[in-house]
């Protein structure tokens, strides 16, 4: 590193960005939860929303544990551990928001809440996720998907907004994960 203040600041920035690049890996949770969302949509279409709810009550926490284990193993191998706080808060926020709006809306017989609520919670979570992971693709997808499902709901296709919307979220999430995997530092 050079001693000139401008060079020092530039090199500090380079070191920080190199470290963030090593840590910036989100293909696993995207591909896992993307696939789960598509499965949840298929279960919802074939067996109804209640079965899809049960599926998520099991798959959601299991997916969370799998993601936690994945990050712990990967970062231990790399020798650098990210601050987990913001990621845990974001994941819990999505999970609690989805369950509260999904089950709460169903219990109160408010289909607009039970159908759109979970998907919009995911979009809100993706906006935070996009910011944390410095991913424009995630942020743009979050907004585009939210607009798409609200549009489907407003154009008189509430069932499509629920199940097809969920499948859309899943497919887009999986695809973003797949694309990002190419840029990630492999261990």
């Amino acid at each position: 590193m050079q001693q000139n203040p401008a060079d020092l600041l530039r090199e500090i920035e380079q070191l920080r960005s190199r470290t963030n690049q090593v840590l910036n890996h989100f293909s696993f949770p995207c591909m896992l939860f993307g696939a789960l969302m598509v499965m949840g949509a298929v279960i919802g279409l074939m067996a109804g929303g209640d079965r899809a709810g049960i599926f998520w009550a099991v798959a959601g926490p299991l997916g969370g544990v799998a993601t936690g284990l994945y990050y712990w193993r990967r970062e231990s191998k790399l020798g650098v551990i990210d601050n987990p706080g913001p990621w845990i808060a974001m994941s819990l926020g999505i999970m609690v928001g989805c369950f509260a709006t999904g089950f709460g809306g169903a219990a109160l017989n408010l289909p607009v809440v039970s159908t759109l609520g979970p998907l919009l919670c995911i979009s809100a979570g993706y906006l935070v996720f996009g910011r944390l992971a410095h991913s424009t693709a995630l942020s743009v997808s979050a907004v585009a998907l939210a607009i798409a499902v609200i549009g489907m709901w407003l154009t008189g296709a509430p069932d499509a907004a629920g199940h097809i919307g969920s499948a859309m979220y899943g497919a887009v999430t999986f695809f973003i994960g797949l694309m990002h995997r190419r840029q990630e530092v492999q261990v």
Binding site: M1, P5, E11, I12, L15, R16, T19, L23, V80, D82
Partner: protein
């Protein structure tokens, strides 16, 4: 008014140690090998700098055994984080002063 150079901390301002603090400022902790490879330092050189930072209370060293393998994890202390932020502010002030004098 104090000149920005007087606010530079000798322990922090040293280029290699500043690099170590820059890496640690964004993570929970990093291990000895990660720091060594990222900063392209030798074992002895890194150890010496870590010792200086630890004695100044800027980093915390955790020596653990993972299986039979020893591993040293390094994390920034609260004082280390503040010192790094203060150094960044001083460097920016210095840069501002240099540009102003042109």
């Amino acid at each position: 008014m104090t000149h920005p150079t007087q606010k530079l901390d000798e322990v922090v301002h040293q280029k290699t140690r500043l690099g170590m603090l820059a890496i640690l400022s964004d993570v929970q902790k990093a291990d000895f090998n990660f720091l060594k490879e990222t900063l392209t330092l030798s074992d002895g050189n890194l150890s010496r700098h870590l010792q200086v930072l630890e004695e100044a209370g800027l980093v915390k060293l955790d020596k653990v055994f993972e299986g039979k393998r020893p591993r040293t994890w390094v994390s920034l202390t609260k004082a280390g984080r503040s010192a790094f932020q203060a150094e960044l502010i001083s460097l920016q002030a210095l840069m501002g002063g240099l540009e102003g004098s042109r």
